[in-house]
Symmetry: C2
Subunit: 275 residues, 2 copies
């Protein structure tokens, strides 16, 4: 119960250029961050002049299940995750959700809306979240003022582009096992970078959401987890994961045939038998 929340996806106070820090930082249990803090959070090289900027960005809390933005909603903000876990997703014509990513601390999202001025995907909180609102116009204006910041914004978008390209490549060519393995390695990396254990962590999303993200069914995800568990690559119990053999997960391409589908070893010549 972190804070009282207005409602679904429409924070009524607009982040921007008002506010003195000491006072407003505490008001309503909300926080405000300056440009320097944001650069650090995003792991951008905080450039010299950033410290001089007095612009403050508002934090807003969301509870699990709440949407930060929805499909079709007019775009005017970017969002930075200060804490908590989210998912971003597309809804296709048939009404099926397709998960695009799982933003967490330090991740920037909402950039899908820049082009059409409307969001083309939705973002929802998987846990309680603390999100920093970054009015796009404010950010663009700052970019025009500070060359390093402009480049940093381009860079952040480029990074997202590269990430999605890797995703496309993975979906296009890897087996289900390899996809699940890489998903775990990726989570492990991100938890480690956040200062948490990269070896033991809790999944914040359902098998369904993982499957949607990886282009697999929830059953295939579940079976693959079980198979990894059986051969000692991981230990998994519900949402609690322990990475046991990171290297194997990183390099895994395909499981030996007999593991995933427990079938008697097949003779190399499947010729005359089983009459």
């Amino acid at each position: 119960m972190l804070a009282h929340l207005s409602d679904n996806a429409s924070p009524s106070i607009i982040a921007g250029t008002n506010a003195r820090v000491g006072f407003d930082a505490q008001r309503n249990g909300k926080l405000w961050s300056n440009l320097k803090e944001i650069c650090e959070l995003l792991q951008l090289p905080a450039f010299a002049s950033a410290a001089d900027e007095e612009v403050l960005f508002q934090h807003v809390q969301f509870k699990a299940g709440q949407r930060i933005h929805t499909i079709g909603q007019p775009f005017d903000m970017l969002y930075i995750v200060n804490s908590g876990f989210l998912k971003t997703a597309l809804i296709d014509e048939a009404g099926n959700e397709h998960v695009l990513g799982f933003p967490m601390r330090g991740d920037l999202f909402g950039m899908d809306g820049i082009h059409s001025k409307y969001h083309t995907c939705e973002a929802a909180a998987l846990t309680s979240c603390d999100i920093i609102l970054v009015p796009f116009k404010t950010l663009a204006a700052l970019g025009r003022k500070h060359a390093e910041l402009e480049i940093a914004i381009f860079s952040a978008m480029s990074r997202e582009l590269v990430r999605e390209q890797a995703m496309v490549s993975m979906l296009g060519s890897l087996s289900s096992e390899a996809r699940v393995a890489r998903f775990l390695v990726n989570l492990s990396d991100r938890f480690a970078r956040m200062g948490y254990s990269g070896k033991q962590f809790n999944l914040r999303m359902t098998r369904q959401e993982i499957g949607s993200y990886l282009g697999l069914t929830l059953e295939t995800v579940s079976r693959t987890f079980s198979a990894f568990n059986k051969i000692g690559l991981i230990a998994i119990d519900q949402r609690a994961v322990e990475i046991r053999d990171l290297h194997a997960l990183k390099t895994l391409r395909r499981l030996p045939p007999s593991i995933g589908r427990p079938k008697a070893a097949r003779p190399t010549q499947p010729s005359a038998e089983a009459a």
Copy 2:
């Protein structure tokens, strides 16, 4: 035989801020474009002050098979297609190519390199191409000068992001037939927008490249084309395509079972038979 080309992916003349238009536009058979022309080519709203900019951007010609940039190559340019057809692709650890897109006239590419300062994918010409070189530093500086241009660059990157998200969603959830259908519809749209016929056109890429792009094997692509041909959605002969039923292609989810795989109608009860 459009022009004499230096070599693979290393145009020796650096585009930038030199050059008087009338003279250099013809020198060496090369062309130079100003900011206004580029905005038009990219279908950006050409803003007022763009016309005043005297910066010129160099064109370079590539022949089919040549690479515009390679993986690992230091990034300093963006590229705009003035004419011709290309592919962009990732090479995975196993050495397999994974096609990411097929840039054509009006498309901007090379943005993958902004983040890491090195290109993470390669771009190769499928036909003879005329490419405009846009030094990234020059573009960023212009963005800082013109608010509308800065927004337009963000917008172009956002559009690419949304395009890739749609791709991820497609790879994650659509059948092979639906993917191929959408691929054809997408090509049709783009040809039409370029002023060519959206009904009849030539594929510039192999079945292998289409398959790689769609996350399918070349055989599946070929079979799907044949099936579409058989039921009259398209007419196809080698690389020549005629779109016969655009609406059906747009809405296709899955082919009726008997079409793709010509098998005798199976009894609803596959019980006692085939002794």
